[in-house]
């Protein structure tokens, strides 16, 4: 299944959702990503990735309560699904595996 693979940006967004816990909605995710990566995260990009993640079943969403901000529109809160958690773990493991296999790699010399 092609959709099961996790792209780099997808992984980042999914991690951010996890990090934000119960406050993960589109605008907040954008802000958070910007904070972590130092790059501007466009709403359009994030929005489409969120939509894709949900399609792949890696994230779940629900509508929050209406508030007076945002023109009275409700927020859509995201949450990492079980499959999403598994995918994140897998990605992490994969990376660590690779890291482990790099011989004599340390950062000391470069500092």
């Amino acid at each position: 299944m092609k959709g099961a693979n996790l792209g780099e940006f997808e992984e980042l967004v999914l991690l951010t959702i996890a990090a934000l816990a119960s406050e993960a909605y589109s605008v907040a995710i954008c802000d958070e990503l910007e904070k972590y990566t130092g790059r501007a995260a466009k709403l359009g990009v994030v929005h489409s990735v969120l939509n894709r993640l949900e399609d792949k079943g890696l994230a779940k969403s629900r509508l929050g309560e209406a508030t007076s901000t945002r023109g009275g529109k409700r927020k859509r809160f995201y949450e990492v699904s079980h499959t999403g958690k598994v995918a994140l773990m897998k990605a992490k493991e994969m990376r660590e595996n690779i890291w482990r296999n790099i011989p004599g790699f340390n950062l000391e010399g470069s500092i």
């Binding site: 909605y25 605008v27 709403l43 359009g44 489409s48 939509n51 509508l63 945002r70 529109k73």
Partner: protein, 873 residues
């Protein structure tokens, strides 16, 4: 801070987002954009924020956000049509008055639309039977005389084009040359019949699709003195016998019948009774200049291409050809171009046209008038529907509560108006059949121009018009109803603001009445002007004069017979009948000054009989034969224009002028008179002596109370002299009327439209008044109980409507005046002043009518017994 709170993103962008976005994603996305907008307002200011918002909305237009087309919603309309029909029928029956006003108004106005559609489809389908219609072109000519800035556009061209065009433009498939001007009497065994034929060369039957029933298509028009008859002509001349190979004597020449073509369809710009081979024209030497480049007056050239070709693309080749040929000309330049077949009838009038042609502006005027009347009826529908919205708002409220969406309500009301329009179509179709006959009788040339038969195409357009009218009429009410808020309506219907759109409705009424007033004022002013044209002092007398076309008969013979009728007082001869629009030019020279001049050739009785006033000199003294004339009579303008004797009539007598290469002595000077129509300024005119001019007239002055008997007498005199031709005799005054018939047709059409417009506007006003008084019944009753007088109440009810009428009069009357003063009457060199009395009279009539409408209803309302009205609640 507060200002920033108020700053909102552009509404249209939000609406657009809502329109395209999937409902599932919409709320969240809209919220997000809103949040960013608020942030941007803080950081970058309102304007930047709005811009970013708009860009973002556009950026989100992606495959995953766009909503799927909801087929289900679409189907609901189809499912609901039964329900729409039912509710429409109910509301039609419930509001009989409103339905009646709407249906009558729409039916009446649409009948005009139907007529225009029938005319347009007829004009459009001219020559549609030609198989090569898309690649058939006519060569037309633009010519300029040296020393004359005006160029002349001719439908005719030179025969030489036909000879040379294929060499200039090798892409041309076939060329055919036609020549007008074969009229004569065909003698066969059965008798003598007048016949009109076209000279046509051998490719004619290849270029045009006139199917040959008998004979050989390739050779029928090849040899000289061969002719092809139409089926009808063949029947007339030979009955049921086979005419092929038989001979016909036309005038003095014998022709052999070489083929029969199917009768020419009605909607064909070329019409003929027979085709004579073009080689005959050469063989008979009918014109020494026939193949001359400058002989461009009565020949027509048509070409076909193997496929549709842009005329522009071969224009350079044609220009080269024209330039090369023009080198030999000194007096004029001639340029040719191609005109597609479909533009021949609709492309406007060219000089020397063959077949009918109509100016495109005429079509716009017709269409415009129909549109105005239909719009007026649509206004009625819109106005009345919105006005009675209070009664239907509950229905809409309930529909909405049950689950109808905006689009459903919209659909319902649109469906209703379309149903009404279709009902109106039934009535208007009946009216159309009546109108069609009337229209055909408007002008005697009308039946030649259009057939107005019903075809599948026309019926389709009729239905289309009805649906379009329905949609146009129903759009505003439908939008209005679909925006109704269900809750407010259901809570308290009286709270519902029915008069919210009062300004809009008033504007519609003013528009309707302004148009009606313009039409009626235009009709009255036009009629007055038209009467003025007919009774204008032409400078000579035309009453009781009958002009008889000689048709080649000897004038002496006929006048001898006619003078024996006791009621005939005088008889004279003339080459032409003046003041009808036809003009005959001749070159004129006085000393060094030469120019073109208008002439009439008359006998010695003509001038006294027509009461032309001599300022000096006298009538012709000599009675010269053809070619030996020496006398001429001129008008004042001639003296002025050519500076003859300083314009003094007495001194001008005896001066010698040169006309048509002859020296003539001025023997008389007549007072200026109108040689052309009143559209032309008076120009130099001369009278020359002549009798028995070809194509001339016999002018007969009668003095009688019994015109019919005199006419009979003249007719039997004619039949003694000429047994073949029908007599063509008309009263001079009738001929003048005919010369201006286009204006009388115009006035009749506009008058009729005015009548319709007023009817429709009055109906609408009536409906509005009924409705307003109905809704105000309680108010009136209470006022009455409190002591208001009847007059006061009537004034109260009428006031607003009267103001509207006055406003429309103030717009309409000056507009009409300016239109006539600046546009219409500038065409006429001589006309009467516009009479303000008539315009005011028209306005007054309309006002009176409207006042009666308003008055009758308001008086009824004001006289109501208040106790009854108030008790019933």
């Amino acid at each position: 801070m507060k200002k920033q709170q108020q700053a909102a993103p552009p509404k249209w962008a939000t609406s657009f987002l809502r329109w395209y976005c999937r409902p599932r994603l919409l709320e969240d996305l809209e919220g997000d954009l809103n949040e960013f907008f608020d942030r941007n307002v803080q950081r970058k200011g309102v304007r930047r924020a709005r811009l970013i918002y708009v860009i973002d909305v556009l950026k989100f237009l992606r495959p995953y956000t766009i909503r799927k087309i909801e087929i289900f919603h679409f189907f609901i309309h189809w499912i609901m049509i039964g329900s729409y029909l039912k509710t429409s029928r109910r509301s039609l029956v419930r509001n009989k008055l409103f339905s009646l006003i709407n249906i009558i108004g729409l039916a009446v106005s649409m009948s005009v639309g139907l007529l225009v559609i029938a005319i347009l489809t007829d004009l459009k389908s001219y020559d549609g039977f030609q198989e090569k219609k898309d690649r058939l072109y006519r060569v037309i000519t633009t010519t300029t005389e040296k020393g004359n800035a005006n160029e002349m556009k001719l439908a005719s061209t030179s025969v030489k084009i036909g000879d040379r065009i294929k060499e200039a433009v090798p892409a041309i498939e076939d060329v055919t040359v036609i020549r007008q001007g074969l009229w004569g009497d065909a003698k066969v065994n059965k008798g003598t019949f007048p016949i009109s034929a076209l000279y046509a060369d051998n490719s004619f039957l290849k270029v045009f699709s006139f199917p040959l029933l008998k004979g050989d298509r390739n050779t029928a028009l090849k040899d000289p003195y061969h002719l092809v008859l139409t089926e009808k002509t063949s029947k007339k001349l030979f009955g049921d016998t086979d005419p092929i190979g038989k001979s016909i004597l036309i005038d003095t020449t014998n022709y052999v019948v070489s083929g029969i073509v199917q009768d020419v369809p009605k909607l064909s710009h070329l019409t003929f009774e027979a085709l004579v081979s073009f080689s005959t024209a050469d063989a008979r030497k009918i014109d020494a200049d026939l193949h001359n480049w400058a002989s461009i007056w009565s020949n027509y050239v048509y070409v076909t291409f193997p496929k549709k070709t842009d005329p522009e693309s071969i224009q350079p080749a044609l220009d080269r050809l024209s330039k090369e040929e023009n080198k030999a000309l000194t007096a004029r330049t001639i340029f040719i171009s191609l005109q597609p077949l479909k533009d021949i009838v609709l492309g406007g009038k060219l000089s020397n046209n063959i077949g009918p042609a109509i100016a495109p502006s005429m079509i716009w005027v017709l269409g415009g008038l129909a549109l105005v009347v239909i719009l007026s009826a649509c206004f009625n529908y819109t106005n009345l529907s919105v006005a009675r919205s209070m009664r239907r708002s509950r229905e809409v409220g309930i529909r909405k509560i049950i689950g109808a969406q905006k689009s459903h309500v919209l659909g319902q009301f649109m469906a209703e108006s379309v149903i009404i329009a279709l009902l109106a179509l039934l009535f208007s179709f009946g009216l159309f059949l009546v109108l069609r006959n009337q229209f055909m009788m408007l002008d005697k040339h009308m039946p030649d121009l259009v057939a107005l038969d019903l075809r599948f195409e026309t019926i389709f357009y009729f239905l289309l018009l009805a649906v379009a009218t329905g949609l146009a009429a129903g759009l505003l009410p439908a939008v209005f109803f679909s925006k109704i808020n269900a809750l407010t309506v259901m809570k308290d219907a009286s709270n519902f603001k029915i008069f919210r759109r009062i300004g809009f409705r008033k504007a519609l009424i003013v528009t309707q009445f302004t148009l009606s007033l313009i039409f009626i004022a235009a009709t009255l002013v036009g009629y007055n002007q038209y009467k003025g044209l007919l009774s204008f002092d032409l400078g000579f007398k035309t009453d009781n004069i009958i002009n008889i076309k000689l048709k080649g008969n000897k004038a002496d013979l006929l006048s001898r017979e006619i003078t024996q009728i006791p009621t005939v007082k005088k008889v004279s001869q003339s080459m032409m009948v003046t003041s009808l629009g036809s003009m005959y030019g001749e070159s004129f020279r006085y000393k060094m000054d030469s120019a073109s001049i208008w002439q009439n050739r008359v006998d010695e009785h003509y001038l006294p009989m027509h009461n032309h006033k001599f300022l000096a000199g006298s009538n012709f003294k000599l009675r010269p034969e053809e070619g030996k004339e020496s006398e001429i009579i001129v008008n004042q303008q001639t003296l002025k224009h050519f500076h003859i004797a300083n314009g003094d009539p007495q001194k001008a007598i005896g001066e010698v002028v040169k006309i048509a290469a002859r020296d003539l002595v001025i023997v008389g000077v007549v007072k200026d008179f109108h040689y052309g129509t009143l559209e032309n300024k008076i120009e130099p005119v001369v009278f020359r002596y002549a009798t028995d001019v070809p194509g001339g007239y016999l002018n007969v002055k009668v003095e009688t109370n019994n015109l019919a008997a005199t006419m009979e007498g003249i007719k039997s005199a004619w039949q003694k002299v000429d047994k073949v031709h029908e007599m063509d005799a008309k009263f001079y005054d009738d001929q003048i009327e005919e010369a201006y018939s286009q204006f009388s047709v115009m006035i009749k059409i506009i008058g009729f439209i005015a009548f319709l417009a007023i009817c429709i506007a009055s109906l609408g006003l009536f409906g509005m008044v009924v409705f307003t008084t109905e809704t105000k019944l309680k108010e009136i009753s209470i006022r009455k109980v409190l002591g208001a007088s009847e007059e006061g109440l009537i004034y109260l009810l009428c006031k607003s409507f009267l103001v509207l009428l006055v406003i429309s009069a103030l717009i309409a009357l000056p507009a009409t005046y300016l239109f006539f003063d600046k546009v219409v009457l500038t065409r006429f060199a001589y006309h009467q002043p516009i009479s303000v009395v008539e315009m005011l009279g028209g306005a007054f009539t309309v006002m009176l009518l409207a006042f009666l409408m308003i008055g009758s209803q308001t008086v009824k309302a004001a006289r109501n017994n208040p106790a009854k009205v108030l008790k019933s609640e």
